[in-house]
Symmetry: C2
């Protein structure tokens, strides 16, 4: 991000990922999935903690999935979700600012 200006296409793809993270419920969902035992969670584990309806949770999970941040699989009755670490690593690396090139914080 610091070395050279982001190209139009790269910015478009990255902004789609950040958009998926721009909702508090989706952030908490991601965190809940990532911190869940085994690194994955069933949808049924995710509908409790939030004050929204189950279809809304399903919608948010779809957004995370289409952004490439999580993977999902049906195993019998339940659907499981897990975080795709490569995607998060990509975003994390983008936001790393070499201390040298940044103006000193106020």
């Amino acid at each position: 991000m610091v070395r050279e200006p982001l190209g139009e296409e790269a910015a478009a793809e990255l902004s789609r990922m950040f958009k998926a993270l721009s909702d508090p419920i989706r952030l908490r969902l991601l965190s809940l999935i990532a911190s869940h035992e085994g690194g994955e969670a069933c949808v049924c584990d995710l509908i409790g903690p939030f004050g929204v309806s189950q279809p809304t949770i399903s919608h948010h999970l779809k957004v995370l999935r289409e952004a490439g941040l999580v993977g999902s699989e049906r195993r019998g009755t339940w659907v499981y979700y897990w975080v795709l670490p490569e995607a998060l690593a990509k975003l994390s690396a983008l936001l790393e600012i070499p201390a040298v090139s940044a103006k000193a914080p106020a």
Copy 2:
């Protein structure tokens, strides 16, 4: 993010920052500012590269500023913007997934 589920307040604050990054033009603005000589850029350097009007750029800069991602200062005729590295570092750290706890990538 992996160690424990994000709290409601933390998620709200972080989602505001990610929302600021969820627009391709804002991402490119941020990158343009960060990669600019001296780590800061005048607004007049930023209105050229995009196919949108000057008020729109000004609006996007305001969003970045209110999200705490950039600082700004008027110096004479021009207004300068620079990246606040602490904010980006905070987001970057959040997205770092310890390889151990993540499910292996497909």
